[in-house]
């Protein structure tokens, strides 16, 4: 009967349901902590946890701790749906957080719409639903803003380019990236640029050179990529390998600070909404100290997004009178103003019909070979989020 022991252990473990403590604000998190996409989302969850730990150590919100219940969805939509169901119905969380790939959004939205619990996106791209006129239940803190990002990038390109822009575009073969790059392609035409080539690159590919070759053959002087960091950087490396000397502009993912220093590429620009650690603001020191204390497995420079997410959670919970209910949290979030302490160009403000932010700020960084350091190319410039 030795072999059936396994089964018994499994059954015993199934039977054990953790007792839910009801003296805390309950926040459910589902994120891509394992799986191929984990590199971009696990640090977010880690930072979120660190931040909330600090909040709790400092007395929590309204004298009550905030309890994070974290689930892993490996970026699988069905797992995310199941997680959401569990967090909503078994743990009775008052707020749900998504830190995963965009493919997990739809199933989670379906769940929260039924349960009437607010959903906060902290890891991936902000869905259109949080833009005005916002979906009642969805909120977003992440830097990414579909369409605004491309607008900011292309306007920067237009301002920076000294000659007519022949724009190359690179996307990853996932819908969200393709959609943004398609938008950028159309936008570039209206801005007087010439899109010369668009590469849509399947996610796992052993060699980016073939795509880079095709891109290079179209002879662009600027290449814009808005995709997961892997695709952005590998395409760049492929182009450089082929001796392409043009300018490359990409989205500033959480990895970008370390990557700029690694690549040391004079013509690589990154556009982003977060300030980098080289600014060395007090909040950056705070993050570094916390990460060091907790001995985290991810570089602290990748923790900005999660930290901002934590700030949003803290602010939301502090604005929610005890005892909390999803409705109260929701009401509190409708008019929340989150001070990002310099991590962003301005605060994140939510209104009844704008759950994104009223102003989206951007900055452009690049590597300066002379200084051997990352430098700010363009300081905060903002777009009003209206439509």
């Amino acid at each position: 009967m030795r072999k059936s022991g396994l089964a018994f252990v499994a059954i015993a473990a199934m039977a054990a349901v953790p007792a839910a403590a009801q003296d805390a604000y309950l926040v459910g998190v589902t994120g891509a902590i394992t799986g191929p996409a984990a590199g971009s989302y696990a640090p977010v969850v880690e930072a979120l946890r660190l931040y909330i730990d600090r909040v709790n150590a400092a007395g929590g919100a309204n004298g009550k701790p905030i309890r994070l219940i974290i689930q892993d969805d490996s970026a699988e939509p069905s797992k995310a749906a199941a997680n959401a169901k569990k967090l909503l119905t078994q743990d009775n969380v008052q707020l749900l957080i998504n830190a995963s790939l965009s493919s997990t959004y739809a199933p989670m939205v379906a769940e929260i719409t039924r349960a009437r619990v607010p959903l906060l996106f902290t890891g991936g791209v902000c869905p259109k639903d949080v833009y005005p006129k916002a979906n009642d239940m969805q909120f977003c803190t992440t830097a990414y803003a579909a369409n605004y990002d491309s607008r900011a990038t292309l306007s920067f390109v237009k301002d920076t380019a000294k000659e007519p822009v022949r724009l190359g575009l690179a996307a990853m073969a996932i819908p969200i990236s393709r959609g943004e790059i398609d938008f950028a392609e159309e936008l570039s035409k209206t801005m007087g640029m010439t899109p010369v080539d668009k590469e849509i690159i399947p996610p796992p590919t052993p060699d980016y050179t073939p795509f880079a070759t095709k891109l290079k053959d179209a002879n662009p002087n600027w290449v814009y990529s808005w995709a997961p960091w892997v695709t952005q950087v590998r395409t760049l490396e492929g182009l450089r390998k082929l001796d392409w000397k043009g300018n490359y502009i990409a989205w500033a993912h959480i990895e970008s600070e370390l990557e700029l220093a690694r690549l040391k590429d004079a013509n690589l620009y990154v556009v982003g909404a977060n300030s980098l650690f080289q600014d060395n603001l007090p909040v950056h020191q705070e993050i570094l100290a916390a990460a060091k204390a907790a001995n985290v497995s991810y570089p602290p420079t990748q923790m900005t997004e999660g930290w901002i997410g934590g700030m949003a959670v803290e602010a939301a919970m502090k604005a929610t009178p005890w005892p909390p209910t999803p409705a109260k949290v929701h009401a509190a979030m409708q008019g929340l103003k989150i001070d990002t302490k310099g991590l962003r160009g301005g605060p994140i403000e939510w209104t009844a019909d704008n759950h994104f932010r009223t102003k989206q700020y951007y900055r452009v960084y690049k590597w300066d070979t002379a200084k051997n350091a990352t430098v700010l190319v363009k300081d905060w410039f903002a777009y009003d989020v209206t439509q």
């Binding site: 394992t34 799986g35 191929p36 996409a37 984990a38 590199g39 696990a42 640090p43 073969a173 590469e199 849509i200 690159i201 399947p202 996610p203 796992p204 590919t205 052993p206 060699d207 980016y208 050179t209 073939p210 795509f211 070759t213 095709k214 960091w229 892997v230 950087v233 590998r234 490396e237 450089r240 390998k241 082929l242 001796d243 990895e255 990557e259 690694r262 497995s297 991810y298 570089p299 990748q302």
Partner: protein, 290 residues
């Protein structure tokens, strides 16, 4: 010209990975679906040895390659050996399960972030200009050379060395081989070791060229159609298959739609399976039932 260089690079990547599938399938008729994970493990091992032997990059590289060999043999001795006599499908699923286990363990040890073993070893990767205006990165060139070296030594090893002949014998007729006093377990362990070694080598070189993250597993799987098109039990076939798949992929990327590159290897594969199920150079065989 660049196109042909690209084909050469991609084909060598596929070929170096595919020979791992072939080595194991040839001797034990097991399809190792954990090859991608073992490949990734090889590159992570390099990361670790790089930090252990700081300042001695060659030593670190050699140690990692040796470790990969040992890991492969251990995988056979502790796991797949127990699956002899079970359904082939069960053995294949065991390798899948091993892959899942390895993935979890690797995230646990090395986290899921991007890693750059080349920087850890302190090597640069300058591009080299080739005649005809084409360019190739140092490590891509190294990869082509390694693939050539690996295939050459495998041919020599299988044809002339004592253990190589044993391996071929065990692949052709295990029963007869065992009766002739060949230690089947030894041969299988060797095959697993060599397979992981070549896979690990591929992983390391790839990681050196472009970095290391969780997607490497999938790359391991992409080389699989190459092995199958060539014939799962033929090394020359694997080489040829890799070339065909790589060429098809690159021409499609360049002239049709880059998106197709994901599907095309499998379309080529289906076409192959319909025409010659046992592959271009594979042996026609009565395949095992489930």
């Amino acid at each position: 010209m660049q196109l042909y260089v690209n084909i050469a690079v991609l084909a060598s990547i596929y070929a170096l990975i595919a020979c791992g599938y072939v080595l194991i399938y040839r001797v034990s008729r097991v399809l190792n679906l954990a090859h991608g994970e073992l490949m990734m493990l090889g590159s992570y091992l390099l990361l670790t040895t790089a930090s252990l032997f700081t300042g001695h990059p060659y030593l670190a590289f050699a140690a990692a390659a040796l470790l990969a060999l040992v890991v492969g043999a251990l995988v056979y001795l502790f796991l797949l050996r127990r699956m002899t006599g079970e359904m082939v499908l069960a053995a294949v699923l065991t390798t899948v399960a091993l892959g899942i286990l390895l993935r979890g363990v690797m995230v646990l040890i090395w986290s899921a972030s991007q890693q750059y073993p080349r920087e850890a070893l302190g090597w640069a990767n300058p591009a080299i200009a080739l005649p005809g205006g084409a360019r190739i990165s140092t490590f891509a060139l190294l990869l082509i050379l390694s693939t050539a070296a690996v295939y050459l030594s495998l041919f020599v090893f299988l044809r002339f060395s004592r253990w190589g002949i044993r391996m071929r014998a065990a692949g052709q007729n295990p029963l007869l081989a065992a009766q002739r006093g060949i230690s089947l377990h030894g041969v299988y362990a060797l095959a697993w070791g060599l397979s992981t070694f070549t896979g690990g080598l591929a992983g390391m070189l790839l990681a050196m060229d472009s970095g290391l993250d969780g997607t490497m597993v999938v790359i391991g799987l992409k080389a699989f159609p190459a092995a199958l098109v060539g014939g799962l039990d033929s090394l020359v076939g694997a080489l040829l298959g890799s070339l065909i798949i790589a060429a098809a992929e690159i021409f499609l990327i360049h002239h049709v739609d880059p998106l197709l590159s994901d599907v095309v290897p499998f379309l080529v594969l289906i076409a192959m399976l319909v025409i010659r199920p046992w592959g271009l150079l594979g042996t026609k065989e009565e395949l095992d039932r489930v």
